[in-house]
Amino acid sequence: MKSFWVLPVFLFLMPTPGFSQEADTLIDLEGVEVREVEKRPEPFQVDILKKREIYETAVRDAGDILRKVPNVSGIRKGGIGLDPVVRGFKYSQLNVQLNNGHKIEGGCPNRMDPAMSHIDVDDIAAMEVIKGPFALRYGPNFGGVINVLTVRPAPADKLSFHVKAMQGFESNWNGSKQHLALYGGNGDIFFRLMGNYKKYGDYEDGNGNTVSSHFTRYNYSAAFGAVPWKGHELILSFEDSHGRNVMYPSLPMDERTDDTRLMSLDYTIDDLSGTFRELNLKCYHSAVSHAMDNKERPFSDTVVAVSEIDAINMGYRLEGRFSLGRGHLWVGTDLEDIRKDGARVKTRILEPTMPVMKENLWANAHIRDYGFFTEFRRTFNALELVAAARVDLNAARSDDLRLEKMGNLVFFDGETGSDFTNFSASLGGTCHLTGDIDLSLSFGRGMRSADMVERFIILLPIGYDNYDYLGNPQLKPEINYEADLGAQINRENSGVLNLNGFFSYVEDYITGRYLPPSVVKPQTKGVLGVKEFYNEDRVFLWGWEVSYRSPAMYRWGVRFHAARTCGVNPGAKKYVFDEGNLVGVTSLENDPLSEIPPLEANLTFRYTFLDNAVIPKVSVRAVGRQDRASEAFNEPETPGFITASAGLSWRFNRYFTATGGVNNIFDKAYYEHLNRRIVGGGGNLYEPGRIFYVNLIFSV
């Protein structure tokens, strides 16, 4: 019996002389990734994070690793579930999707489970961040698209079966994670089965304080593909994912259970004719069942609050590509249909008869968006042009927005329906000035209708500031007019330098304004009052990104990137309170927008040994002080910080790779500007202190 174990282990560990593939090869073995992450030249900024960067670091959350992308940050409210911010755009201003069109609607009104949190980071093959309102084939795009590509089954030349397993461990919060994938098939039928399990405890910050951040997550998925005829491909996929006891110290509740089911069907036909080149169909269904409570919070000694929400997002995307001379034309249509329902039950456990109250969080809320889009690309000698347009027919409905307490009507709004036609367009071009210098310029108009929260939320403290927020079903769509200017210098011997700048003029910006108690009274203890979502006339955002990557031909490698975003609201108002009473309103000229990350720079140096088998690297991250804080939102300034990390990737043989290292080497106590403060006066939510990590990856 012993020999059964010894031999495979020996085979795993046995060095393979002469193995001389490039470092990326292990990743690229899973063929479909290569096809999907291939980067097209675009006149706007597209950043791609590949799987290697996930395995090379200590990461347990998809939103967390996105912070590696220039000008992308994350709003942290707990150990996981970071909500991405791209160039200052966030929440529904970003179009987050899975595998080119699969949308997920989180259940929590406070976004403890944004779409990214329902995707296991170890299932990801790549993440594509398309900045700006330019890519319009992926659904309504206001500020950017985050397209998460998971590892999917792919046809093989001959029948084969493979196994991939990963065991990861992180010190500090004693986290462990396992990933297992079985995949294989032939050229006609192929499959992929995957599972993940993650269990993390509370982490310690750099001051040695314990942060309530423990969580357990697990998922399993199955995807089957077939090639029924030459040029046709069908993929059916199914995933169940679950979260248990996920702590969010910066929110009033923790996630008790989350059960998510994702299903999709993809059908692709290639080479239909000389003109009709490709047809893609995707149908999907996402169901999130989310339960959260305050049972591990001090206030539960008085009132136990439990919220249960069901959110369904389903839709399709149908797209055809046509070859027209030297140009390509895409034409398509898509649908996103979101339904949300749920309530909060409050049990007053200190009262002798234990009264129980039920409040609707969502009342059969429903948003449907039909989109029609087109994109045309053509090359004119040294100029590549891309033009795109889309129209969205957006309709929203809900049962009456009604809140009653002790038989008294607190709030009522019966006009909950709205219909909008939204038009978006973009035009961009890349000019190849010389063989190694490109200049690009893009203009875009992205239009999006308000989301579920902005339309239908009923008096919950879901904003950055300390107010109960009230939805507004009659909100107008907000529009982003953006211009991007970029330059790339790509020289074989000296590397690739990218410079990008952008300017956004946002019309009918959706934000909150104060409503006096005579209109509606706040319902949450300790808040300053009620804010209702409304359309601010205009705000501006601007910023830049610079990145450098050394040539791949050398054994050493350097990567550098820096980015900055600024935003202002020319007509902001600050509400001044004294002992809970509004005593004045001040108009602020050009008040900075809230939740905008500060200047940040990253430098990574790596060196390759033993024919790329051993790659050590050292990274330094410097983040500036954020003193452009929003006065209107009572946003505090944030000090700057510098952190360092080191890692080593060791490909022992063709079956076995190990990565490990240490994050936050000097155990620096720091927090990001976008980290929400801990509720109940708990102060700032600090990032984890020093973490040692190791990931062991087997691939057969």
Partner: protein, 123 residues
């Protein structure tokens, strides 16, 4: 052949990984009322979540009323009692797995309920 062994082994691991992910930890909850010699009214939350009410008669101060059930982590536990004898007293306790989780006591107070409540703690 070895590869097949590995695949079988890892397939079983995947099955176990999926099957072993959820663990329920039930705990024994006991409501206990004592130190009362004249009788009292009690409200308590049962395992099904409903509120029950009953009048308890006692023969002496040594009598102890108890109600026990199994509960999961996070379940609400609640017991509340009041007496009418102005010379009376009462002690109300909730025990979880044999240890006192919460307790309350009153003496000569016929107006205010002694309410003891909380949620079964998470490990």
């Amino acid at each position: 052949m070895k590869t097949h062994h590995i695949i079988v082994f890892l397939s079983l691991s995947l099955t176990l990984l999926v099957a072993g992910c959820e663990k329920e930890t039930d705990k024994k909850v006991v409501y206990r009322i004592s130190d009362n010699a004249s009788g009292y009214s009690v409200n308590y939350r049962g395992p099904e979540g409903a509120l029950h009410a009953s009048a308890v008669s006692v023969a002496s101060g040594e009598d102890v009323w108890t109600y026990a059930f199994m509960a999961g982590e996070g379940d609400i536990v609640f017991v509340s009692a009041i007496y009418k004898d102005i010379t009376g007293e009462i002690k109300v306790e909730i025990l979880i797995d044999g240890k006192v989780y919460k307790q309350g006591y009153s003496k000569y107070d016929t107006v205010k309920y002694v309410t003891v409540s909380g949620v079964v703690p998470y490990e």
